[in-house]
């Protein structure tokens, strides 16, 4: 058949070279944002100081002469760097959770925040912090609580959102509203039940709108290990995720063990959401916005999408963290406020775009 070769590709960066360039550019952006984020704050650092501290630390000896004050080194090493790295891991992790939930529901509106999973996780984490019922797990108690909360809320959300084996956009959004309202209320109740005075408001804000101010190396370590493990597992499942987008029934006839795959997705997504929420509170819309943007650039294939969108989501959260510290300096905005300013309009755009389908149609 004589068909004219179509010049316009489906996605801007279909070619491998374009994809690699995109990833390299994103790595550069991440690194640049990293330095800016370490520099800015209540005490501004010189880039030379940051560089010197980093190089000396990594080399394990005094490559650069220590002309800076020890307090500067402490701030950089123990406050700023863990915070910035946490921002990246949280951003990348939430993006990964978003991708997983979108594959699970075959719906681009799905993300841990929209579905109410983040709220479930924060309710779980708060219950452990306030009542200590998982303290026998030591440092993992909060994370385990958040994981349990995430599992309960995802099962609830999927159950409400699924009608005749299909998740419609309307059902998904409604289920999300209900689940987040429920778990948000539980979280606030527990906080107001145990805390007094201004502490109440502060704690509630932390869990409902997110913050990276509590970042420590210790928490970062757990979160990073969890993120890396989940990321590697997902990279092994990318082909199956591609096929699952066709729908559960079709994927099964093509050869995917859909039951097992969906179980893995739920376990990984809830584990990661739980751990992230336990260190950062609920930060909204990251898992919604960045998979979608990256998908429109590099395509739907998860082998390409997952690594690229990790970089985009991670970069965004590092930048959002900078904004949260700069916009109302010397005060600090909860980072969830910044992410919602970007994410909520995007959410509206996606709802609008799904147009006819949003009515629940076919």
């Amino acid at each position: 058949m004589a068909v004219k070769k179509e010049k316009t590709a489906t996605f801007p960066l279909q070619k491998r070279s374009g994809y690699v360039t995109f990833c390299i550019v994103m790595v550069v952006i991440v690194l640049a944002a990293f330095f800016v984020a370490v520099r800015l704050g209540s005490v501004d650092m010189e880039f030379s100081t940051i560089w010197g501290v980093l190089v000396n630390r990594l080399a394990g000896r005094e490559v650069y002469e220590e002309v800076w004050r020890t307090s500067a080194e402490t701030i950089i090493l123990n406050i700023r760097i863990p915070r910035v790295l946490t921002a990246f891991v949280v951003g990348a992790g939430l993006t990964l959770c978003g991708i997983l939930m979108q594959v699970l529901t075959k719906n681009s509106l799905a993300d841990p925040y929209v579905l109410g999973i983040s709220h479930g996780a924060s309710a779980g984490a708060v219950s452990v912090i306030m009542y200590g019922w998982l303290n026998f797990l030591g440092g993992y108690g909060t994370m385990a609580g958040a994981f349990l909360g995430a599992v309960i809320s995802i099962l609830l959300a999927l159950r409400i959102a699924t009608i005749r084996n299909k998740v419609t956009a309307t059902q998904l959004v409604l289920a999300g509203i209900a689940v987040s309202a429920l778990f948000g209320a539980i979280t606030n109740f527990m906080i107001y039940h145990t805390k007094t005075g201004s502490d109440k408001v502060k704690t509630a804000t932390y869990w409902m709108m997110g913050s990276l101010s509590g970042a420590t190396w210790e928490k970062l370590k757990y979160a990073t290990i969890a993120f890396v493990v989940c990321f590697i597992l997902i990279m092994f499942l990318t082909k199956q995720l591609d096929v699952l987008l066709l729908g559960d029934d079709v994927a099964a006839t093509v050869g995917v063990d859909t039951g097992k795959l969906k179980l893995w997705i739920i376990i990984i997504a809830t584990l990661l959401t739980g751990i992230i929420v336990s260190i950062s509170g609920t930060i909204g819309f990251v898992g919604l916005t960045f998979p979608h943007i990256t998908r429109s650039i590099v395509g739907t294939k998860h082998k390409r999408l997952v690594p690229a969108s990790m970089l985009v989501g991670g970069a965004f959260l590092v930048i959002a963290d900078i904004l949260s510290r700069v916009l109302v300096a010397p005060e600090e905005l909860p980072i969830g406020v910044v992410s919602a300013f970007f994410g909520a309009p995007f959410f509206l755009y996606l709802i609008r775009k799904s147009g006819g389908k949003f009515g629940g149609g076919k």
Binding site: K239, L246, T253, D257, G299, K301
Partner: protein, 263 residues
């Protein structure tokens, strides 16, 4: 169970609540045959096919491919034996036509690693076979209904299963595309088991016809044996005139309106 049959269905029953949709159906399909499943709406055609390709779990009964019970097979093993084309709604996520067709290779691929060169060639050849050459880099969602369906045929072909099941995949296509897809499938020399709505299409392409009504198999035979005015009346309640199509030598079915339905 007969080992010589490509597909052997024994006593399959499927019910929703107390309503029996497929009632103890047994059938056998010989290797290389193109078999059409014909019957009125709601007779259980689609349900029977879904029981065979395991989207539904039948209450009782067994399905064998080449004498092997399909029940214990993994999805991956079954996908290598049998490919399925059904009505698909892909609503959200776009991909290229090439990537869409490549998904059919899943059951043959390792968990990690790139698509092999011979697989890429296979996909390109399949796309060319269905007349989608030059469309490889196009967005799947931007295609017309017929183009989408042809891409899905290519995906089913690269799955390289000797048996292919069609669950009303051409229903919403116009007549030209329906004939096109049937003739593409006919050329492959595979064993095909397809539900067919249009009696003339069934007469034209099928080696054997299975007639189904109210969850039962009514009759089984060649199009010439099956498409008689009496049989069609029994199944669909309409009067027809059956002649021999001079171009194909196959039965040609013409609908005759009754007194009540005359225009």
């Amino acid at each position: 169970m007969r080992k010589d049959l490509k597909l052997d269905v024994e006593n399959v029953t499927y019910a929703i609540g107390s309503k029996i949709i497929v009632d103890g159906v047994s059938l056998g399909i010989e290797t290389g045959d193109f078999v059409g499943l014909v019957g009125p709406n709601g007779c259980g055609k689609s349900t029977l096919l879904k029981c065979i390709y395991r989207t539904y779990q039948p209450e009782s009964g067994s399905v064998y491919i080449d004498g092997n019970l399909t029940g214990p097979m993994s999805n991956r093993e079954l996908a290598r034996e049998m490919s399925v084309m059904q009505q698909e709604n892909i609503v959200e996520f776009d991909m290229t036509v090439f990537d869409m067709a490549m998904l059919g290779r899943f059951a043959h691929q390792k968990m990690f690693g790139n698509d092999m060169l011979h697989e890429r060639e296979l996909v390109l050849a399949a796309l060319a076979e269905v007349g989608m050459e030059g469309y490889e880099e196009r967005s799947f969602l931007s295609l017309s209904g017929g183009e989408k369906q042809r891409t899905l045929v290519a995906r089913a072909l690269v799955q390289q299963a000797p048996l292919i099941l069609l669950d009303e995949p051409t229903n919403h296509l116009d007549i030209g595309f329906q004939y096109q897809i049937m003739s593409i499938l006919k050329k492959q020399g595979l064993t095909v088991f397809s539900s067919v709505h249009d009696l003339n299409i069934a007469a034209c392409y099928c080696d054997k016809i299975i007639l189904m009504k109210a969850g039962h198999i009514v009759a089984y035979g060649t199009p010439e044996e099956m498409f008689t005015p009496e049989m069609i009346y029994k199944l669909f309640g309409v009067n027809t005139q059956v002649t021999v199509n001079s171009a194909t030598g196959k039965p040609n079915i013409v609908f005759i309106p009754s007194e009540e339905t005359k225009p």
